[in-house]
């Protein structure tokens, strides 16, 4: 059983990479940015970590590692621009056989443009051993909507897309993740006669290393706009309730802190772009205390 799953995952990964090797048009609507402060603090290298509700969009297979119910909300104003804001809300719960997650990402340019992406994800274990090795898969459906109402332009359009993800812990100290989003690469049309804007298919894979319960080191590579981009991050745990993070994401350097108390999680991260300046992300979340430990394995 275990060998079959590993083979299946390897084949799926190779197939997805082959798909991603083809050139893709650039994407700007709903272009990726770190959705939550913890992921941002890790340099957005989160596909192999995926152990909070951000997993709904980062790696839906990671939902299997979450507690019975968890929720988080994030707000940021990119580059300190007063008229541009981004919000992210995600929640995850579990049933007897499945893990469910829902997320809503919103980007708004005041009085001009609104971008919304609602994601519904499910995940389940394919394999879990007594030695804390696991293999899980996830799938997601995205509903994207973009509307504009400014300077004589008044239009909106929507599309549905899908994604797949794999999360693996072959050893307790190693995490591996892979996710592909916008598999059908739909196109949004807001101006008649134009070619519209495709939501580009993206591929992300990553690996993370866990040292006892004190440190996470994460690396990932993402295929966006036809090119691979690398990012990496590290999280240090102080006294199980305080977290310090740092990461690099191409043009960004990031740093963040987090605290956990009675199931409440507060995270703040600053992402500094080499030219555009800093963006500060604030996230507040809730997860039952026993599973707030990001290194814990699911039961």
């Amino acid at each position: 059983m275990r060998a079959r799953c590993v083979t299946l995952c390897a084949a799926a990964s190779l197939g997805a990479l082959a798909l991603g090797a083809a050139p893709h048009p650039a994407r700007a609507h709903l272009e990726r940015s770190a959705p939550a402060a913890r992921a941002a603090g890790l340099g957005d290298a989160f596909v192999s970590v995926a152990d909070d509700a951000t997993a709904v969009v980062a790696n839906s297979a990671g939902l299997v590692n979450l507690p019975a119910f968890t929720v988080l909300a994030t707000w940021q104003s990119p580059y300190g621009l007063d008229d541009l804001s981004e919000g992210f809300f995600a929640a995850a719960a579990r049933t007897r056989h499945l893990r469910l997650g829902v997320a809503w990402f919103h980007r708004g340019l005041d009085g001009a443009l609104s971008e919304d992406l609602i994601t519904v994800a499910v995940a389940r274990d394919l394999l879990r051993t007594a030695e804390d090795a696991s293999l899980s898969v996830g799938a997601s459906v995205d509903l994207a909507r973009v509307s504009v109402n400014a300077d004589g332009l008044d239009a909106s359009d929507g599309a549905a897309t899908a994604g797949l993800a794999i999360h693996m812990r072959p050893f307790p100290v190693i995490g591996v993740g892979y996710a592909v989003r916008h598999l059908n690469a739909p196109t949004l049309h807001l101006v008649g006669g134009g070619p519209g804007t495709p939501l580009e298919r993206t591929h992300t894979w990553g690996i993370s290393y866990y040292w006892e319960r004190r440190l996470v080191v994460s690396f990932e590579s993402a295929l966006e706009q036809g090119q691979w981009h690398n990012r990496a991050g590290v999280e240090v745990v102080l006294d199980r309730r305080l977290f310090i993070r740092s990461g690099m994401d191409g043009r960004y350097a990031s740093a963040g802190i987090g605290a956990r108390w009675s199931g409440i999680a507060l995270d703040v991260s600053v992402r500094s772009h080499e030219t555009l300046g800093a963006s500060t992300l604030f996230t507040i979340g809730y997860a039952p205390e026993p599973s707030a430990d990001p290194y814990a394995q699911s039961p």
Binding site: A28, P78, V191, Y252
Partner: protein, 367 residues
């Protein structure tokens, strides 16, 4: 012990003789406009080898033949006296004086020069130009930017050269012709030479060496600010030390100018390039002087899309509307970018390649 009172008495006796010269009610009997510089007291040499910031190493590419050694300034109730002590064999010596609003920054506007020169941080409105043959022209820049030649009767002047290449230039400028608007007179001395003869020199030195290639534009970004009317009561301050009243701006060690603030305003929030639309933007400034501006468009995730221009020179505080300040929604390859949110970024610095500040504005591309 007995010798101590005597020593103190001697010091008190000698003290007046050692005190610096100060501005006085009438200096015309002491300071003659004759090309001789020995009538200026040590404290009236506002720029010399001891002035901070120090001269740049190898600042004069002509060696001893092109060097502004000293600049003197002093004043009385009626006139501002300026003098330049230079080594300038077969070279033009200029004194640039700014006393109020207006003025020129590109000195080519003053007539044919041997090299293109731009002043940063001040705009001279009185130009004293001494050609190698000994002719000294003085011109004033009126509020409209036009040059008005002033006669020797209006502004007395003198030029004297020695066979060794030493040059002395003197002028006496009536306050009625150059009333300091903010209580300060700004002064800069420059030497330029023939094509192929090198970089020339300036005092105070600019923050970077002048280009050795005479075909390259020289940028003079420092000047001496002389607080001749520090209390701004409309009358020159008397009894003050000119040297103590002089400040070199900007001070040495840093090119950063405090208070520089640029803003970016886009004329619209969204545009459709497929319909032939484009977005114009304006750069607002809360500063004066020249800055070099670079404008780049980024996607909202921080990916550079296109650099619209790089190190474009803008004269603040009122940069002229530029045809460059427009984005047609295309990337560097000429293709229209995908729809979404983009960030227009301008960065600026006081020298090419320098980035001392930036401003962002966001716009939506609709397709």
């Amino acid at each position: 012990m007995k010798s101590r009172p005597a020593l103190l008495a001697l010091l008190v006796f000698l003290a007046p003789a050692a005190s610096p010269a100060t501005t006085d009610d009438d200096l015309s009997r002491r300071v003659a406009i004759d090309g001789r510089l020995d009538d200026y007291a040590p404290d009236e040499w506002i720029l010399d080898a001891t002035t901070a910031p120090a001269e740049l190493p190898n600042d004069s590419r002509w060696g001893g033949d092109a060097d502004v050694r000293r600049v003197a300034a002093t004043w009385d109730n009626d006139r501002l006296y300026l003098a330049v002590d230079a080594a300038a064999r077969d070279a033009t010596v200029m004194l640039l004086v700014a006393y109020g609003a207006g003025g020129v920054r590109r000195l080519e506007a003053a007539g044919p020069l041997r090299r293109a020169i731009t002043c940063e941080g001040f705009a001279p409105n009185l130009l004293v130009v001494a050609a190698p043959g000994g002719r000294v022209d003085v011109a004033r820049v009126d509020a409209g930017g036009a040059l008005q030649t002033l006669s020797e009767g209006e502004i007395p002047r003198a030029w004297k050269a020695s066979p060794t290449g030493a040059v002395a230039l003197e002028v006496a400028i009536p306050w009625t012709l150059a009333p300091p608007a903010d209580g300060r007179v700004r002064v800069l001395a420059v030497i330029t030479g023939d094509t192929g003869s090198g970089a020339g020199d300036a005092a105070p030195d600019p923050t970077a060496l002048l280009p050795a290639n005479p075909a390259a534009r020289a940028t003079l970004d420092r000047h001496a600010a002389v607080a001749a009317d520090a209390d701004a009561d409309g009358s020159p301050d008397l009894g003050v030390s000119p040297r103590a009243a002089t400040t070199v701006l900007p001070p040495g060690g840093s090119r950063a100018r405090t208070g520089v603030s640029l803003g970016l305003r886009l004329e619209r929030r969204a545009f459709a390039p497929d319909l032939g639309e484009e977005v114009h933007f304006e750069i607002d400034a809360d500063a004066d002087g020249r800055v070099y501006v670079t404008c780049t468009v980024y996607s909202v995730s921080g990916r550079p899309v296109r650099t619209l221009y790089e190190d474009d020179a803008r004269d603040l505080p009122a940069p002229a509307p530029s045809s460059l300040d427009v984005w047609n929604g295309r990337d560097r390859a000429g293709a229209i970018v995908p729809g979404g949110v983009y960030v227009v970024n301008v960065t600026w610095g006081e020298a090419r390649g320098e980035r001392s500040g930036s401003a962002n504005a966001s716009v939506a591309v609709v397709r």
